[in-house]
């Protein structure tokens, strides 16, 4: 067990744990994938998705360019402007999100992103990692073969020791995933359309029944609508039924369920 076991052995990705994280997860192939329906490890377990839940937003290092990848909460990714620079630890941070320095003002935080000055790149970890901060450089790219260090600090935020956090020691620098974009899912949009029409149909049927006399076809349409919304009917059945209903209405002057259940009324 490493000192960062509680961060899934991944201090690089888990360096901005401000309690806002959700939605991104690392699948079994090591790719960072966005899914708006995944909000916790429990969600992944419930859906049978293999991998590790990461969070709503976070950062990683592009191994090829050395730039910081920002995984945004809306499912998109962006690349931070600044490359990682050579690390010289001379500062310390507190747990309130601001920084203070004992030696020189070499690092600072601004919102969720971190800046650096004087050729120094240090990372402030926020309250969850308040006793640690991470200094690193990429293992490939312009700054290849540089070192990656995790600095342990005492409760006052003073650096007391450094650990070689290279990939060889179990600390990974993640590659940017080709899948790390919000996927346009036409199937899901159609499914949602079918479900929404089902729900609208249920309430509209109840409204129609409540405005006059409740008949058998109202009951039938409520059951069908609920099945479209929550059941196994799905969007294909739902949209097909709606289309068929409109055609039947046009040909016979009555809906399908009127013909089936109350044809003589």
């Amino acid at each position: 067990m490493t000192p960062y076991h509680y961060g899934y052995n991944n201090p690089i990705v888990y360096k901005y744990l401000f309690g806002l994280l959700e939605d991104w997860y690392e699948n079994e192939n090591g790719e960072i994938v966005y899914d708006e329906n995944v909000k916790s490890q429990q969600d992944m377990n419930d859906r049978g998705i293999k991998g590790t839940y990461l969070g709503e937003q976070g950062t990683a290092i592009d191994e090829n360019t050395g730039k910081t990848i920002v995984y945004n909460s809306d499912g998109t990714t962006s690349t931070a402007e600044k490359e990682l620079a050579e690390v010289v630890v001379t500062a310390r941070g507190n747990s309130s999100g601001s920084s203070s320095s004992t030696a020189s003002a070499d690092w600072f935080s601004s919102g969720n992103l971190l800046g650096y000055a004087g050729g120094v790149q240090s990372v402030y970890e926020g309250a969850f990692f308040s006793r640690h901060k991470f200094d690193y450089r990429p293992s490939k790219g312009p700054n290849a073969d540089s070192w990656t260090t995790v600095w342990k600090t005492n409760k006052a935020g003073e650096a007391v020791t450094g650990i070689n956090a290279s990939p060889a020691n179990g600390y990974r620098i993640l590659k940017e995933s080709k899948n790390a974009v919000k996927k346009f899912n036409a199937g899901r949009i159609l499914a949602r359309t079918g479900k929404a029409l089902g729900a609208l149909g249920v309430v509209a049927t109840i409204a129609d029944g409540a405005s006059g006399t409740w008949k058998s076809y109202h009951t039938a349409d409520v059951i069908i609508g609920v099945a479209m919304t929550f059941g196994p009917v799905g969007w294909i059945g739902g949209l097909t039924y709606l289309a068929a209903d409109l055609v039947t209405q046009g040909v016979t002057g009555k809906s399908i369920t009127e013909n089936l259940f109350d044809g003589n009324q």
Partner: protein
């Protein structure tokens, strides 16, 4: 109240394998709100505050399609209300409670559906 309904649907649907349980839960809330609105209109009509539920067309299917317009607006509002942040807050709030499907909660859920249904049927 509708937060409770949302989480009730969410938990039930996500455990039953619904791969879009968040959206389905929103539709569940919409169904319950729709029941409540229609029940309210029936009560108002019963006490002659309004003449009755509007009838847009004598044809059953056409009348239903006309109803889609105002109901679609309500569905849109519910959808926007339960955005990702709100949904996460609701889920976090209720998921920390043990034994969510207690007798009291299940009874409350049934109550929220059955009572307006009875009002609609009887008035």
């Amino acid at each position: 109240m509708y937060n409770f309904v949302f989480y009730f649907f969410y938990r039930m649907l996500s455990r039953s394998g619904d791969d879009d349980s968040l959206f389905s839960s929103i539709l569940g809330v919409f169904l319950v709100i729709g029941l409540h609105i229609i029940a309210l209109l029936k009560i108002l009509a019963h006490f002659n505050v309004i003449e009755g539920l509007p009838i847009f067309s004598d044809t059953y299917l056409h009348n239903k399609l006309y109803w889609f317009l105002p109901l679609g607006v309500i569905l849109g509002i519910v959808y926007l209300y339960f955005n990702k942040r709100k949904a996460k807050r609701v889920i976090d709030k209720y998921s920390s409670k043990e034994n969510f499907y207690s007798l009291g909660n299940v009874t409350l859920f049934i109550f929220l559906i059955v009572v307006p249904a009875i009002v609609i049927a009887k008035l």
